[in-house]
Amino acid sequence: MTFSAIFRYEMKAWLRKPAFYLIAGSCYIIPLFLFIGTGGYFDGNIVEETNTLLFLNSSFQITSFLHLIGKFLLLLLPAIIGTTIYKDFQHDVISLFYSYPIDKATYLSAKFSSSFLLVCFLSLLPLLAFISGELVLGEGNPYITSTSLNGYIFSYSLIILPNLFVFGLLVFSVVVLFRNIYAGFLVVLLLISFQGLIENLFHQSAFLLALLDPFGQYASLDQTRYWTLTEKNQLSLGITWTLVYNRILWLGAGISFGLLTYRRFSLGQFGIDFSLFRKGEVKKRQEKREHDYGKLTLFQPAAGPTQTLFQLYTMVRYQVSFVLRHWIFISFALTGMLLMIFMLNRILYSGDLTMLPLTRLILQIPALFYMMLVVFATFIFSGMLMLLEKDSGMEPLIYSTSVPTSTFILSKAASLILIQFVLLFIFMGAGISMQIFNGYFNFDFSQYFFSLFIVHAPVLAVWALLSVFVFSVTRHLYSGLFILLLAWLAQFGYEQLGIATKLLQFNTYPLLEYSDFNGYGSALVGRIVVQIYWFLWSILLLFAAIKLWPRVQMDSLKIKWAAVKNRSGRKWLAFPGFLFLPLILVAYIIFGAETSIYKVDESQKVLSEFTEKFHVLKDLPQPRISSVSLRVDLYPEKHDFNVEGEYVLVNRTDVPIDTILINTSMDEITEYQLETPGREIDSFSPLNFYVAQLSRSLMPGDSIRMHFNVKNRPNTLFQRNSGVLGNGTFLTHDILPRIGYFFGQDQQTPDSSSLADNHYQSRDSDLVSYRATVSSTADQVAFTNGSLINDWQENGRNYFSYETTKPVKFNFHFNSGKFDSYTDYWNDILIRIYHHQEHTQNLEAIASGVKASLEFNHELFGYAPSEERINVIEYPLTEGSFSTLKTNAIIMSESVFGVNADQADKINLPFYVAAHEMTHHWFGNMLIPKDARGALFLTESVTEYLTLQIFKEWYGEDAAHSFLKVQHERYFRGRANEQGEEKSLILVEHGQDYISYGKGAAALNAIAQTLGQEKFYSYLKEFFKEYAESSSYPTSLNFFEILEQKTPESLAFIIEENLIKSITYNLEILSAELRREGDKNWLVDVKYIVKPYELNKPVDRVHYRPVELGIYDTEGELLYLAPIFENENQKTIRIETQATPHELVLDPNYLILDWERKNNIFTID
């Protein structure tokens, strides 16, 4: 038999199989749907702004898509390449070849190359699908640009094809060596897990990650890390050295393994045997007893329910132990544990922050990935167990026993579920071990059990039962696995395919968030209902599996059908019939809850309709809210609230007002009433917009009262329509009605002549006087802005009355919860932290942050807070991870309370957040910027800069450097995700946190360092004094003007570069040579690059600016720090030192925004 004979036979054999066409169809249809689904083909939505879109067929996006598809194509390897060789072992063909004149090289190469060719063909189908997708969407589609051949050629030739070859060879080799097809599937899963592992291990070393990534994903996309949206849309991917190294490494590994296999393989009878357990010994009998059949013990076979249960138990025990002893299980468990440990490690020690190893953290992302692994393990183990009798040849012995078929199937299902339990216990063990390892002993066993066995286990069980069903229908491993993986993948496609109802999204659930305040909260009930629905379905599937199980050989569909009918007598149908009742009931509940989901339609269509009708009212003079009085009743147990309120509206214009525009909150039900009789003359209900005409005009300087009632929409199974939680409620003023025309108005530039005199957080009010009474249940404390005036109990509820001593911004909070409190003082001001009773680790740090900020800012700017106490109130992380200052209350997320602040070398986040928020008292509450672009520069950037100074005072220079490093990274990470245009710092817009926070802190620090810290403080003080005491609102230009005025011409670059342009640099030390000069001195010749870029484009030098160069000894002590001036792109400098220099660092003080800082450091050997 020659190469070509085997080759041709294999090709023909595959092309005859229907399964091949099923696979080919999936390889085309799934990518096509993914592509056109992402392009909005099934949504029918009109895409609104074309400049924020990432083209689907750009080189970058095609490559990203094909990386994703490439991972699924890996499944073809065991299915096609693995099976091609495995079937010879399975049917023992190999022992026939043993006697043929055929050498192993011909045999193996023919087998591999034929199957690899088929895989190559199949892997081209997704490319074809994408190209068809481009045609289907058409050029008019906003997601489509001109076809990028680069993307296709680059991805296929450098990523997909080499990956399939290398890992195909690996799978082939493993199947050959172990003579086990499961080993092939395991290889693929291990490779995917390996990628996850190195992602967690090397997330801080881009090169190592790119080099070791088996799929070349990081190596190929590393170059795009800081690409902006436009670059992603326009640039082509190129071949980098990292990619070349990565490909060589993995090609080398694959080929080496292939060669090794070739050497080990022989056309013999046995593969490699890994026996972990003993082989039986031959025992010699002491005495020989004679037996004949007639004397055999006679027993009456038992057949009742007890015996059936006993048989079930025996089979389950054997099957579970069979899997648990199997090396595939051990590999899975080890991989899962490692993956979980590394992932947790990454979460706990991400960059410059350390988290406490809280149970909720372990049960979030690590658990999610682990569950994915358990699902895959379930698929593989279900194949192993369902085909165990078939594969071992024991079918006829077992099937001819009197054990009912249902017992067989139940034993398989129960075994799988038990194996899942074992895997869950392993996860729990690993989690607890990690907590112990990190010195955290507050194990929350109930949370572990609830999450793993109530939330996750039922979902896994449904997958187990589906697997049992699938393997009852198909008795082929690869087709079974293929179907199961498709079913699993479907959960990511339902939405894209427009399948929105939970009734059709098989075993798919939204992510459930956990908070110590409320556990899984109100979303849990809805989820459990859907879980019950799918569990009932899976029981029906199990029933179908029993019916379809081919215990008795059925040679035709006719016989099969007759057999199923025969077995489905009335008695048999009674059970599923009985199940249908609860199923229909649950489906009805889900359907009802889904149809009652309330959705706000803020589509472009509605907005255009509104603008068309009402834009004439845009500049209509409106009264302003000057006083707010509220009664807020919170009902945590029902998640409801009710607000009774009154505004005083004042006409501050110089014209009479007879029409008032009222805009009530979108999610709530609001009723309002104006004091002066009037009538509603128009409204636009989709946006809750009302136009009221007063019967008597409101004269300039006059005021009018407006009364209102706000309550939430009724809560439903899947939707909580209010922010009221069982514990830890945090509502804001968003629920209250507002005055004026709010829609479609972008922030204007600060130099715009039509800029209204509004502050940045409110268009209908300046400072308002505020009083409110907040009530809650008897076991909760409730808060709002201001000082507590009175509190009392009435009808079993708690009431708290608050009032602000001075008028404040229209920026309110309503909190309620069961809290413990921690008290501290700064001078006479009481600082009280209201926190979850177990969140005690960071209270001192938070209090210190508040105190440090009060001390620092008070000294610099004067003005102590007007309220006598500062409240810090914790709220559940399910509501957000941000923190904010509302008058005298810092509302802080639970996530901040979970930080491990004991790590000396890391940023103390609780301190930082507290200090930042407290600083907003000066920049945000007292100095309130005008509503224009750049407002956030005056609040967030200045605050972030001041926090840095507080940080430096409190924790020292090194900590301040860590702080700056974080801000630099924040900036570069953020701009890579920018969907629009990167604005300069003084024109920063909402949503550009990477500029206002990240760049803001770095830029103001660089300016202060360049101009001199004290000078900079004095400019800031001057600016603050001017505007904090006046009633006018400043813009970023006002501060810029002060700076510009005070900055000498020679240093003007620093303002220009940081505030009005978006300049970044590439700094790099190319080489450094060390020489001895005389007996004492060292001479260092440093060759370096300083290259500026504006919005990522190289710019011609407009000015030459100094760059600091630091030289350090082996102890890390600074020997020399000087600004170096250069006047060409590349420059050499000679430096003389007395001590031995060890390390050179360009820009050691983080004064320049440089996206790659690793090459700024040079170590001299």
Partner: protein, 291 residues
């Protein structure tokens, strides 16, 4: 209380008729089912063992319709298929305990006793802790018998069990089977005529799904008494002989000459001497349709 098979039909998708309106009654004792490869033996055995559906027909055993009451039959059934495997890396002792439970054993003590007994009976006690997947062919077949005996079945179906066994293993195996066969219905399919002669008190010859001959081996042999003749011929002579006589079989003698057995009710003319009939003669003649 016999096994009664009526009008059993089985036709495969590829057009092969495995069973063609087959009817037979089988009583207590060893029953041998003889037939060439592809005669329909295994299909018949699998249908009897409740592992395959016939297209039509009826089977009753001890008055029980086994196509309708598979489970009841399985309680009394012992089945050893032509080829089988076992769970990997498990000892004979473990597997027998496992099978005993599946066959309805509820008491541990009783199970240990019966497992020991069947191990003894099949001479596997010494190797009871070895993995069955590593047994030799003969040992594995004996294990097959051991598992079959666990529930002391009243209907035993053994499909070509001696194929591939060496002579001593075959002997040992047949001895075990013989001791079992006295009290029960044992259906034993084979294409080795010698096995049937040694063991069975009843037999049938089957081909193309039909029963060609059904009687006791001894009776079948007796029927041929006086009708079997033997002679030695040359290669050329054999061709001539085949044209004129009913040649049953031919064998090479020590001197490379051919010894030919011929069926004839009267002594054929020529150099023929009478020979004692054998079951093989019955088999060949039946296959040929002469008998």
């Amino acid at each position: 209380m016999n096994l009664i098979v009526n009008n059993l039909n089985k036709r495969y998708k590829n057009g092969v008729t495995a069973l063609d309106d087959l009817s037979i009654e089988i009583g207590k004792g060893m029953f041998g089912l003889l037939g060439p490869n592809g005669a329909g033996k295994s299909t018949f055995m699998r249908i009897l063992a409740t592992l395959q559906y016939p297209d039509s027909g009826h089977i009753t055993f001890q008055g029980l319709d086994i196509l309708q009451n598979r489970r009841d039959l399985r309680m009394r059934l012992g089945y050893l298929p032509q080829s089988f495997g076992v769970y990997p890396k498990e000892s004979a002792k473990f597997l027998l305990h496992y099978m005993a439970i599946l066959k309805g054993s509820s008491s541990k003590k009783q199970r240990e006793q019966i497992v020991d007994e069947v191990l003894e009976l099949t001479n596997l006690t010494d190797v009871q802790d070895k993995f069955v997947s590593e047994y030799s062919g003969g040992m594995k077949q004996r294990f097959g018998i051991a598992q079959l005996l666990l529930n002391r079945p009243s209907l035993i179906i053994v499909d070509e069990p001696t194929a591939g066994l060496d002579p001593s293993e075959r002997k040992r195996f047949l001895n075990v089977l013989r001791s079992v066969g006295t009290e029960n219905t044992v259906i034993f399919s084979t294409h080795i005529v010698e096995d049937v002669r040694e063991l069975c008190n009843d037999m049938a010859i089957i081909n193309q799904g039909k029963i060609l001959n059904h009687q006791s081996p001894q009776k079948a042999i007796d029927d041929l008494r006086g009708a079997i003749w033997q002679t030695n011929v040359s290669k050329a002579g054999l061709q001539t002989l085949k044209k004129t006589h009913k040649v049953i079989s031919e064998n090479y003698g020590e001197n490379n000459d051919r010894s030919v057995r011929v069926y004839a009710t009267d002594k054929p003319s020529g150099d023929f001497r009478p020979a004692p009939p054998t079951l093989e003669d019955v088999y060949f003649l039946t296959q040929d349709g002469s008998k």
